[in-house]
């Protein structure tokens, strides 16, 4: 991972750092760009084979079946144990590591002929912070999210569909922000996203952009963030899907990125906050019948550049299920 963090344009380094500090946003360098292009190159050859299921870390505009009337739950483990300063690993005298386990329960409900979907995400959070001066942990309900997604475009042909949906939602400060570690941010935040999906025979391609308008708690102003996801799904088995329902195995390769602006305290930017992370996320999904699936995904950061000095995310692992109820 360390090699991913080395800048190759030393002359531009200072300018970039200045720009980062000024804007609070990550400025992508050439090496990062090459990594993204290479990752896309790995993903793209799959598209010449000719559907599969809903992607694991990316949203879907197809609000049908388990993605329409199914309760989804999964456990996601996130490990942060690498201390980075300006993108380079440094020794942590406190030897800190954070392991979080989040179990969201997502309940969607479709209206208007499956064109509008309202959703509730109810997370249970467990966070452990280990350090040489003593370990602390907390667990409980995290911040609940409410959302509404609307299908804005639909193009159907035989064995093929292209759909686009837009979503807006709110994150409520239901998680306790006073515990150590905090279970919620204590702020009411808003998010807006658009997701497009193309499914044809064995392949599905999904692309999503999410803008989070993060507000403040007391004198702390959380920076806004932008997330961007690209997912390629491929039905591994069966090669030819004839009569519904039949068991199927889907493979996924996703790029999941987020860029977060710096926080502000009393109007002053916090240098050790915000940054960019881009995961390469392989995943597998098994759909066993009409009403259920199980899935797992591993996320490894191919770009990991938190601003200033911060513990960086080393990896995440999630495994979950979706069960059709409506």
């Amino acid at each position: 991972m360390k090699h991913c963090l080395v800048h190759i344009l030393p002359k531009g380094e200072k300018i970039k750092n200045v720009m980062r500090k000024e804007s609070g946003y990550f400025m992508i360098n050439w090496r990062n760009l090459i990594k993204v292009v290479l990752s896309c190159a790995i993903l793209l050859p799959l598209t010449d084979a000719l559907a599969q299921g809903p992607p694991i870390n990316t949203d879907t505009p197809i609000m049908l079946g388990v993605s329409g009337g199914g309760i989804r739950s999964f456990g996601k483990i996130t490990r942060k144990a690498t201390l980075l300063r300006d993108g380079k690993e440094i020794a942590d005298t406190l030897d800190r590591s954070i392991t979080s386990w989040v179990t969201p329960v997502a309940i969607p409900y479709n209206l208007y002929s499956d064109k509008l979907q309202i959703g509730l995400i109810f997370p249970y959070v467990n966070i452990n912070l280990d350090k040489t001066t003593g370990d602390v942990s907390s667990s409980g309900i995290g911040d609940i999210k409410l959302s509404a997604k609307y299908l804005v475009y639909q193009f159907d042909r035989k064995n093929k569909t292209i759909r686009v949906a837009s979503k807006a939602g709110v994150k409520l400060p239901t998680g306790d922000e006073d515990t150590q570690p905090a279970l919620g941010t204590g702020s009411t935040d808003y998010f807006f996203s658009t997701v497009a999906g193309w499914l044809e025979k064995r392949v599905g391609v999904f692309i999503e952009g999410i803008y989070n308008v993060n507000t403040s708690r007391d004198s702390l102003d959380f920076g806004n963030s932008f997330s961007y996801n690209l997912a390629l799904g491929y039905r591994l088995l069966p090669a030819v899907y004839e009569t519904y329902p039949s068991p199927q195995i889907n493979g996924y390769l996703e790029l999941n990125g987020t860029t977060v602006a710096k926080r502000e305290v009393n109007g002053a930017k916090v240098d050790n906050s915000g940054g960019t992370i881009l995961f390469l996320s392989p995943g597998l999904q098994y759909i066993g019948g009409r009403g259920w699936l199980v899935e797992t995904s591993f996320q490894y950061p191919i770009i990991n550049e938190p601003n200033g000095t911060q513990l960086a995310t080393d990896w995440t692992l999630s495994f979950g299920t979706r069960i059709l109820v409506f």
Binding site: A51, Q52, G53, P54, I62, M63, L64, G65, V66, S67, G68, G69, S113, D114, K115, Q154, D156, R157, K158, N159, K160, T161, L199, E200, K201, G204, V240, Y241, E242, T243, Y244, P245, S246, Q248, I287, R290, G291, L293, L324
Partner: protein, 174 residues
């Protein structure tokens, strides 16, 4: 009063006995469904199609993009509302094919396939198969099983036969 009750009951029993036997019906319907590229989203389609009157079973072939509705024994599948059901399930309905049993009749300007015991009928579109069928029937009232493409045309003033049936195959069954 007792005689009146007895008479009413008798008439009801008789009525049940002489109610027209459904010996002509829509036995099977196939509909091409566009957008059916994800097997995981076919659940809603199957659920909605099973709610259609007269349907016993629904078979969805993802590879062909076709849903086939099998009728209940002795009942006719109600084809009205089929396209709406597909659209409500989130897909785009296309061509409908059907296997229909009935009697061929002249009906004004049209040649129709009529379901015995029902005013509902299908206009038979003129083609070579229809000419061949009529020559085989030779004005007899034999029952035929016709397989073909259903097209919604709804000619004005002909509410009971809004569909034309383009014959692809047929067999004379009685």
């Amino acid at each position: 009063m007792k005689k009146l009750i007895a008479l009413t009951v008798s008439m009801l029993i008789l009525g049940m006995g002489i109610s027209p036997a459904v010996n002509a019906q829509v036995e099977e319907v196939g509909i091409r469904v566009d957008g059916l590229s994800c097997p995981f989203c076919a659940y809603g389609l199957e659920k909605k199609l099973k709610k259609i009157d007269g349907v016993n079973d629904v078979i969805i072939n993802i590879d062909k993009g076709v849903a086939t509705l099998k009728g209940k024994k002795g009942e006719s599948i109600v084809v009205e509302g089929l396209k709406d059901a597909v659209a409500d399930a989130g897909f785009t309905p296309r061509q409908i094919t059907a296997i229909v049993v009935g009697a061929v009749e002249e009906h004004g300007d049209f040649v129709v396939l009529k379901n015995i015991g029902s005013d509902f009928m299908f206009i038979l579109k003129e083609n070579e198969q229809l000419l061949e069928l009529r020559s085989k029937l030779q004005d007899t009232e034999k029952q035929v099983r016709v397989e073909g493409v259903l097209t919604y045309v709804a000619p004005e003033g002909h509410d009971n036969h809004p569909y034309t049936l383009t014959i692809e195959r047929f067999e004379v069954i009685s």
